[in-house]
């Protein structure tokens, strides 16, 4: 796919997704899919037929950090083949980032791309909701006054 074709795809994607600020996507690759912030990265000098989609899932609660990191690394082992779906940690924000490689086939339409991004964002959100729910469950199991004591020592 040529850079011009990619720009046209983004233009169409902004239209299909009904983005209120299409220039954020056109110029910086940024868009919001539901509640998930995403960045589309295209570097034609590296590979003109490759796009990387990065989804920012959120910051891991400190008390679940070890469990979440272990689960993400294991998922990378089983599902990260070829770097198609890889979890990582943003050094800047501390957010968990889900990076996906997407082939830019000439036949790829904006509708198909939006559908795929929406599905992926939904799966990512469901995963994150489960993690946060587990965090709440963990807190609910703490003895009375634990959180106050924790806050005093923070």
């Amino acid at each position: 796919m040529t850079p011009e074709q990619y720009q046209y795809l983004l233009h169409e994607l902004a239209h299909v997704a009904g983005l209120p600020y299409p220039l954020a996507l056109m110029n910086h690759g940024r868009l919001k899919i539901g509640e998930v912030n995403a960045v589309l990265v295209y570097e034609p000098q590296y590979d003109p037929d490759l796009m990387q989609a990065r989804l920012m899932l959120g910051c891991v609660p400190q008390e679940l950090k070890a469990s979440v990191m272990e689960a993400l690394l294991e998922a990378n082992y089983f599902e990260g083949y070829g770097g198609e779906c890889v979890f990582s940690l943003s050094p800047q924000s501390g957010e968990i980032v889900l990076t996906m490689r997407m082939s830019l086939l000439p036949s790829l339409s904006a509708h198909e791309l939006w559908q795929a991004l929406s599905d992926i964002a939904r799966h990512g959100s469901q995963m994150w909701e489960t993690i946060m729910a587990e965090c709440e469950t963990l807190h609910a199991g703490m003895p009375a006054g634990f959180h106050d004591a924790l806050a005093q020592h923070a």
């Binding site: 679940l64 469990s67 979440v68 272990e70 689960a71 993400l72 294991e74 998922a75 089983f78 599902e79 198609e84 779906c85 979890f87 889900l98 996906m100 490689r101 997407m102 082939s103 086939l105 036949s107 790829l108 198909e112 791309l113 795929a116 599905d119 992926i120 799966h123 990512g124 469901q126 995963m127 489960t130 993690i131 587990e134 469950t137 963990l138 199991g141």
Partner: protein, 109 residues
Amino acid sequence: MSLLGKIGMPSVTASSPVSTAGNIASGEGAGFDADFKDVALGRPRTVMVSGRRRLALTAPVEGHDDEKMQSSAGAEPASQQTALAIKSAVSRAADDIRFVLDQLKDPRG
């Protein structure tokens, strides 16, 4: 004897009720094609079956006892249960995302 016969009947969890343990055991009609080395080694393996549905196969682990596992689950510390729930959620999401990416590569499938 089939390869599945040699490694023992795998426990099967299906993301959709496309197939049954029966036709996995016989290999007939399921239309799947997979390398079962991972399964034999006790690692989960996702295979593609006709209609692009997926099955996660795992071979029984030596010494594993389902009843014992179930009865001891209640005695696990909360943190272990939490870790298991998180692993399950992450693994499921990663698997589903790979499926979406596969569909994008081959929309006709």
